[in-house]
């Protein structure tokens, strides 16, 4: 079963930096489409019985379809998946933190082997189709979802209204039901204090900035998620093109600022990067926030050519491998926060050493 491969390894498709354009700054792209079944109450009103009927309808549609992308997926409900495994999916960004908390039989996920496609079942909407790819590839994500969406629609009675578009549980998603987002690493803009200004401009363009794990999460290690806020009154293509355009501009700004930093304050920058690398390769106890902070600097060092031999892929993998659920899965046991901090220091040291050749 493909989901177990996914759970037992760190790798997911979006980490494959070499396959993504601008992947030094744009870690990953994600597009999500919210779909609901006509007349069926939205998930927050569902009891187990009606919730299971929704799962069965989705399962039937999936079984009926011979579409290759769907054939390559697994459907698992959360009563069959322990909390630790659900947290692993969350840490890989495949499901939301809220969804990972649910153990109900009518909540679940459909996912393929490399985690490029992951559909949440009965999260805030009956079905949330998601595609994740490395680097800046929003249109590619959308096109892959289009194929799946067209296919599922043959067998599912989607809630759709001429005027309001795809009907969603929250009115902030109605219309296209689409949320497109990019995960950005912006250390130079952060160091030079330009982020607030940029984010204000971005807000005025109908986009929003969030932390690493989406809504209500902090931006650790200079990682930011940029996504569209408006879902009604714009076409999917317009939303994607706008977000891609804005992202390209931010990438350009980040690159220019990196060059400037390197030229104007080379000692400070090299010092900062060297210290971060030194701490990561020597520390015995490491909290997740501290690790992200230093990893951000090391990543900048790799991008600037100051640290050689480390692959961007390894750094993407580390972002996920150092999270609590991944550490515990690797250790094969539950661990107290302090134990995890010790294990984390070990994992980081091991990874950085392995790739440093």
């Amino acid at each position: 079963m493909s989901i177990h491969d996914l759970l037992n390894q760190n790798f997911v498709a979006w980490m494959d930096a070499e396959k993504g354009p601008a992947s030094d700054i744009v870690i990953s792209s994600r597009v999500r489409l919210a779909r609901n079944l006509r007349l069926v109450p939205f998930p927050h009103l569902l009891d187990e019985k009606r919730g299971n009927q929704v799962v069965e309808e989705i399962r039937k549609a999936w079984k009926k379809s011979g579409y290759h992308e769907l054939l390559a997926m697994d459907l698992v409900t959360f009563n069959e998946l322990p909390l630790l495994d659900r947290k692993i999916l969350m840490e890989k960004h495949l499901i939301s933190p809220e969804h990972s908390e649910a153990s109900a039989s009518f909540k679940g996920i459909m996912v393929n082997k490399d985690g490029s496609l992951a559909f949440m079942i009965n999260e805030e909407d009956h079905l949330r189709l998601q595609c994740f790819l490395p680097g800046l590839q929003l249109m590619e994500c959308y096109n892959r979802l289009q194929g799946v969406d067209d296919e599922l629609e043959k067998y599912l009675d989607y809630a759709f209204d001429e005027k309001r578009g795809y009907l969603t549980s929250c009115p902030t998603n109605v219309g296209t039901g689409m949320r497109a987002s990019v995960m950005l690493h912006l250390p130079a803009l952060a160091i030079s204090g330009q982020l607030n200004r940029i984010f204000q401009n971005v807000n005025q363009l109908g986009m929003t900035v969030r932390g690493l794990y989406g809504e209500n999460t902090d931006a650790v290690g200079n990682f930011y998620q940029l996504s569209n806020q408006i879902t009604l009154g714009q076409t999917e293509e317009d939303i994607i093109n706008n977000l891609t355009g804005i992202t390209e501009q931010i990438v350009e700004q980040e690159r220019l600022t990196r060059e400037r930093l390197l030229k104007e304050m080379p000692y400070q920058i090299e010092d900062r990067i060297g210290r971060a690398y030194g701490i990561l390769t020597n520390a015995r106890v490491m909290t997740s926030n501290e690790a992200m902070l230093h990893l951000s600097d090391v990543r900048l060092g790799v991008d600037l050519g100051i640290i050689k031999g480390l692959k961007p892929f390894a750094l993407n993998e580390l972002i996920v491998a150092l999270r609590p659920a991944h550490l515990q899965k690797k250790a094969g046991k539950e661990m107290e926060p302090f134990e995890r901090d010790v294990k984390r220091a070990e994992v980081i040291k091991e990874k950085l050493a392995r790739y440093q050749k």
Partner: protein
């Protein structure tokens, strides 16, 4: 802490306003805050103020802007799922697909405020969407039929009538 306005319900909305350098604090319940028309954008939101609450405030303002009498709106429920607009206001979530038509009037300003727009122009599902397109075509033909009858062009009217019948069959 009780609401400073009605002094009955607990205060859940805390407003901080800075006017000419003077800081003013106001503590209100959700209903009174909505009545005051405290717009989401000049509210200084306290930490812990959740998204549903924000949306709730949004809905609250909306129905006040419309000046519809409170009991009438609040007693309306969605015929499909039984959701009331009051609960939508509280949770920020609709109950089912039919809530969108049951509360179309109440939702309109909210959608405009959130999206700056209230008409979908994106993707249309082929299956459901095919019907939407047929429906549009039939409506257009029906108005042409009336015009033809009014002009006493009966031959043309019969043609249009047959076309409508054919399309209606296709819809089923």
């Amino acid at each position: 802490m009780y609401c400073e306005e009605c002094k009955v319900r607990p205060a859940t909305v805390h407003l901080t306003q800075i006017i000419n350098g003077q800081t003013m604090q106001t503590h209100l319940c959700e209903q009174c805050a909505a009545k005051k028309g405290a717009s989401m954008f000049n509210l200084n939101i306290e930490p812990g103020f959740s998204i549903p609450n924000l949306l709730g405030t949004l809905f609250g303002n909306v129905y006040n802007m419309q000046e519809v009498s409170t009991p009438a709106v609040l007693s309306t429920t969605c015929p499909n799922c039984g959701m009331s607009f009051e609960r939508i206001r509280q949770t920020g979530k609709l109950g089912c697909s039919e809530c969108y038509s049951a509360f179309a009037r109440e939702l309109e300003p909210t959608l405009r405020r959130v999206h700056g727009n209230s008409q979908h122009i994106g993707k249309i599902p082929k299956r459901g969407g095919g019907k939407v397109m047929l429906k549009k075509k039939i409506e257009e033909l029906k108005s042409r039929l009336q015009k033809a009858v009014a002009r006493e062009e009966y031959e043309k009217a019969a043609e249009i009538r047959d076309e409508i019948k054919r399309l209606e069959k296709e819809m089923e």
